[in-house]
């Protein structure tokens, strides 16, 4: 179905279905992806809130750094999550914050600080690499201003309370929770979120691919079913030829309306073609038949004149020339009759069993004489006693045309080789002659009606010899074919059913 060359309708249909399905799946996937991300971000904030509340519940407004560190230790030491906790004391004057915990690279710090009230004092503690996986422990207590609590000021945490800090290595999501004395920042690594998102994405991708595959297979199957009537049409149309227009495409009960219409239209067209073809074939047959009698009368009259005693030599020769032309006309008429009968499938075939080797004897005599005259070497390998079953007269014409062609178109000083033998598929007649290299496109056209290669436009033939030969061979149920290209030789083979009786 999807052979090379022109693209296959079925393949295209399947691909297009997959494309449409792919766009739909991708659209839905993108929407779901965005929704899931959004949902996950919300969940994330909720989790940060939970962590923060756990910490909050351990703290009192008056707690200082020791209590804070203890609480953090208590809550987060067992936590599997990567949590960053830090606190900002609302001291009088500028609030101060100690950044510790996750790897506070410059980018992270700058981003984080951007969320703090202006003028906040930021102290960066040394990062203990070992503790980065447990950032809760990484809190270093203390900022400069130890001493009695001061009157707290309200923190100026910018909305939103949740913000994302983007570092070079990883992203953190922070929540800021305030009371009058301090603000606690709780951060969770976004990497975990992204890992989850990747998982979801994989699910979507897998599911989407599977859905696409199913859509493609479904389209392949459905299109295959849908175009099954086309296969039927192709197989019938392939069998049709000028001589065989009687086949019709069968209409099945399950055919779709559109295909049924198409099949009906094609069948009608074929019927019209068949009618007009039959008419023209019959016309040609009738016309050539009608020509036979007047030609015969002209010929016999000329023959009579030629025989009369009183004729001088010059007149005799002129009548001889006319007779020759009448004979050509008869020959052409006869050929046209044969062809039109073959085309109309009305060639009268009188099958008989006969000794082909014997029948070819006269023709081989001729071939030898003709070859001799033309300066060609003639090689005759006719096996004796090969019997076949066919129309003797028609097959004789086939062999005659092949022999005549071989002698006529052989290269000067070349050779003609004829053989007849019994092969596996029946009697096989082969004839070869030396020939100039024949291009492939010419080889393919050799059997066409009225076709003659440019180089062979001489002699008496009128481009029907090979065409008649192939039509007659076909009508006799035998196969005439061009032998595979050989350097310097061209050859034809006729394969015939052998008569079983010896």
């Amino acid at each position: 179905m999807s052979a090379g060359g022109p693209s296959s309708f079925r393949v295209r249909l399947a691909l297009q279905t997959m494309l449409v399905a792919g766009i739909v799946v991708a659209g839905f996937g993108a929407g779901a992806w965005w929704f899931a991300l959004d949902q996950q971000a919300r969940n994330y904030d909720l989790r940060i809130g939970q962590e923060a509340r756990r910490l909050w519940s351990q703290l009192t407004p008056r707690d200082r750094e020791e209590q804070f560190a203890r609480a953090v230790e208590k809550i987060f030491s067992e936590s599997e999550d990567r949590v960053a906790v830090t606190v900002m004391w609302h001291t009088e004057g500028n609030p101060s914050v100690t950044l510790s915990g996750p790897a506070w690279d410059d980018a992270n710090r700058a981003a984080f600080v951007g969320y703090l009230p202006q003028g906040s004092e930021v102290v960066t503690s040394a990062v203990d690499a070992d503790r980065t996986t447990r950032p809760a422990r990484a809190l270093s207590p203390g900022i400069g201003n130890a001493g009695p609590p001061r009157r707290p000021i309200m923190p100026e945490i910018r909305t939103p309370d949740f913000f994302t800090v983007e570092g070079k290595a990883e992203k953190w999501r922070f929540g800021a929770f305030s009371n009058p004395h301090y603000t606690v920042f709780v951060g969770l690594s976004r990497d975990a979120l992204q890992a989850e998102a990747r998982g979801t994405a994989l699910w979507f991708a897998g599911g989407g691919t599977l859905a696409l595959g199913i859509a493609g297979l479904g389209a392949w199957y459905a299109s295959g079913r849908a175009i099954r009537p086309l296969d039927r049409m192709v197989s019938i149309a392939d069998r049709m030829s000028a001589g065989n227009l009687s086949d019709r495409i069968p209409l099945h009960g399950g055919d779709d309306h559109e295909f049924a219409q198409l099949i009906g239209a094609l069948n009608n067209m074929t019927a019209r073609l068949e009618r007009s073809f039959e008419q023209s074939a019959r016309f040609t047959a009738d016309a050539s038949h009608e020509l036979k009698t007047p030609l015969a009368v002209i010929q016999s009259t000329l023959n009579d004149v030629l025989r009369s005693e009183s004729l001088d030599e010059e007149t005799s020769e002129r009548i001889g020339v006319s007779l020759h032309q009448v004979s050509r006309l008869k020959h052409i008429t006869h050929s046209l009759l044969l062809l039109s009968q073959a085309d109309a499938g009305e060639l009268p075939i009188h099958r008989e069993r006969y000794d082909l080797s014997d029948d070819l004897a006269g023709l081989m005599d001729d071939a030898e004489s003709l070859s001799e005259t033309a300066g060609l070497a003639f090689e005759n390998r006719i096996e004796p006693g090969v019997c076949v079953e066919a129309d003797r007269a028609l097959m004789h014409q086939v062999f005659h045309n092949l022999v005549s062609n071989a002698v006529k178109y052989s290269t000067p000083n070349g050779r003609v080789r004829v053989s007849l033998g019994r092969g596996t598929e029946g009697a096989r007649f082969e004839i070869r002659n030396t020939s100039a290299e024949i291009p492939e496109e010419v080889r393919q056209r050799l059997f066409e009606r009225f076709y003659r290669a440019e180089s062979s436009r001489h002699g008496e033939g009128f481009g029907l010899g090979l065409n008649i030969a192939i039509e007659l061979a076909r009508a006799n149920g035998t196969v005439l074919e061009l032998l595979p290209s050989e350097s310097g030789m061209i050859g034809f083979a006729v394969t015939m059913p052998v008569s079983s009786v010896p």
């Binding site: 030609l295 015969a296 016999s300 009579d304 009448v326 004979s327 050509r328």
Partner: protein
């Protein structure tokens, strides 16, 4: 030999009659089937040449009536189209031979002679011109008792010439009748074979049988 010719086509009837008369036959030519039957029953002809498609009674039905009446006169049927069923029907009804139009007059003459000889009980497979003999069954030819080796085509050519001795045949006619349709007319096959045949049958003999008639063609034996 007296022949009844039934043919409705004027030109063909006239040319056939003329041709047959030239070759020494007495010809009664008619164009209507009923007249033909009447005549055939009244006159003892040596042979009948009947066209199948004619006005009145057609050729096949004349043949049927004759054979029903135990009239065994040899009959050659003429038809425009050679279809096998028609041919078989004709032969089943007792026709002696069958000829498809158009035909050469010599072909008709050769067949008339064959059916007449068969009718009279003479052997039909032996041909003889002067001291030249040919046996169509053993496929052997001899002159003056000495056997002549002939190739397939030479045999066919000699047989053709011996069937109507003395008759002049043009090159074209020999082509058409010995080689059949479709021979390459530009070739000189006829000349080549006539030369070969002449070498085989005439070379060692005083009397030359195979004659060339300049401008007209070839003939075997003396005219007449």
């Amino acid at each position: 030999m007296r022949i009844l010719l039934l043919e409705d086509q004027e030109s063909l009837r006239q040319s056939t009659r003329k041709g047959l008369e030239e070759m020494g036959f007495a010809v009664d030519a008619v164009e209507d089937g009923d007249v033909a039957l009447e005549r055939a029953l009244a006159v003892p002809f040596d042979a009948l040449v009947l066209d199948i498609m004619v006005p009145g009674r057609d050729g096949l039905s004349i043949l049927r009536v004759l054979r029903d009446k135990k009239n065994a006169t040899p009959v050659i049927l003429l038809t425009a189209r050679s279809t096998l069923p028609e041919k078989i029907e004709g032969l089943n009804l007792g026709a002696d031979d069958y000829l498809t139009k158009p035909f050469y007059i010599e072909e008709l003459v050769a067949r008339l002679r064959t059916v007449a000889r068969r009718h009279s009980g003479a052997p039909t497979h032996l041909l003889e011109v002067a001291d030249l003999r040919m046996d169509l069954i053993t496929r052997k030819a001899s002159r003056g008792g000495a056997e002549i080796e002939l190739s397939a085509r030479e045999f066919q050519l000699l047989e053709f010439l011996m069937r109507t001795p003395g008759r002049v045949f043009s090159r074209v006619q020999i082509y058409e009748q010995v080689w059949g349709y479709g021979m390459d007319l530009e070739s000189n096959l006829v000349e080549v074979y006539v030369q070969r045949l002449r070498a085989k049958i005439d070379k060692e003999h005083e009397t030359k049988l195979l004659r060339t008639i300049r401008g007209a063609g070839y003939a075997l034996g003396e005219a007449g």
